[in-house]
Symmetry: C2
DNA sequence: ATAATATATGAATAAAGAATCATATGAAAG
DNA sequence: CTTTCATATGATTCTTTATTCATATATTAT
């Protein structure tokens, strides 16, 4: 019987060390989950360019006001965007620049992606 | 009637310029969707430390082999991980370093996050 | 060939989540 | 204080998706 090319016990121990706590992993997944929706992605990209009120976003995305409000709430609860009131209207804006850099990294992966990936259907 | 503090037409035009194509936004959302699951996040963190075979990952996460295989497929289809065969076992490993940097950005957002966020329940 | 081990996969189930509809809240104007 | 404009929210519906179960494929050993 040959020694396995791959040392199981060793690998497992190495890995357990670097693994963050379950709660942190869960929080991380929850954060990315928020970027994982086209509507929210569009909202965020919109706010990259300018502060916007709800009905502007609604018009831009061509969706119902309710759908937009629901997603704005999701984004706000995650501290990715924030809002202030201006008379009757609510102005939404990016909470901080992490949003830009997170999306930026994803953007790079998708575009740069060494291009030999047309086999994906 | 006062001029609105917020110039709607102007804002909308500014924004339409910087908005990527629908398909790209969709691809981006799909990419982040993949990070938006605890199981997949754990698999990726595991592979940060070492190349691993399926049953090692299964053991590490304490889940069924089937569940792991299904998620490995998702990750592989997205070109986030890749695999090679070594005898009977399949060894999985990170496809490139984008994975690390994308997760890294998210990690920062969660940890750095100026800390005044205990009101979230 | 057959058995044993390692992994993959299809179908079904169950749970999460996005959009819709109807309605509620909140600010300002008449 | 009633109406109007802007936004928020609860409940329901429909879709997506993660896991499980059973089974299929692939590699090696007997």
């Amino acid at each position: 019987m040959e020694r396995p090319a791959h040392d199981h016990l060793d690998a497992l121990n190495t890995v357990r060390g670097g693994m963050p706590q379950d709660e942190l992993l869960c929080d991380l997944a929850d954060l990315f989950k928020i970027f994982g929706d086209t509507t929210r992605m569009k909202i965020l990209f919109s706010l990259f360019e300018a502060e916007l009120c709800v009905h502007e976003i609604t018009a831009l995305l061509g969706m119902t006001q309710s759908a937009i409000s629901h997603q704005l709430k999701v984004l706000k609860d995650a501290h990715l965007i924030d809002s202030r009131r201006e008379g009757k209207t609510m102005i939404y804006f990016l909470a901080d620049d992490h949003v830009r850099s997170i999306i930026g990294q994803g953007y790079e992966h998708i575009t740069e992606e060494d291009k030999p990936h047309e086999e994906d259907l």
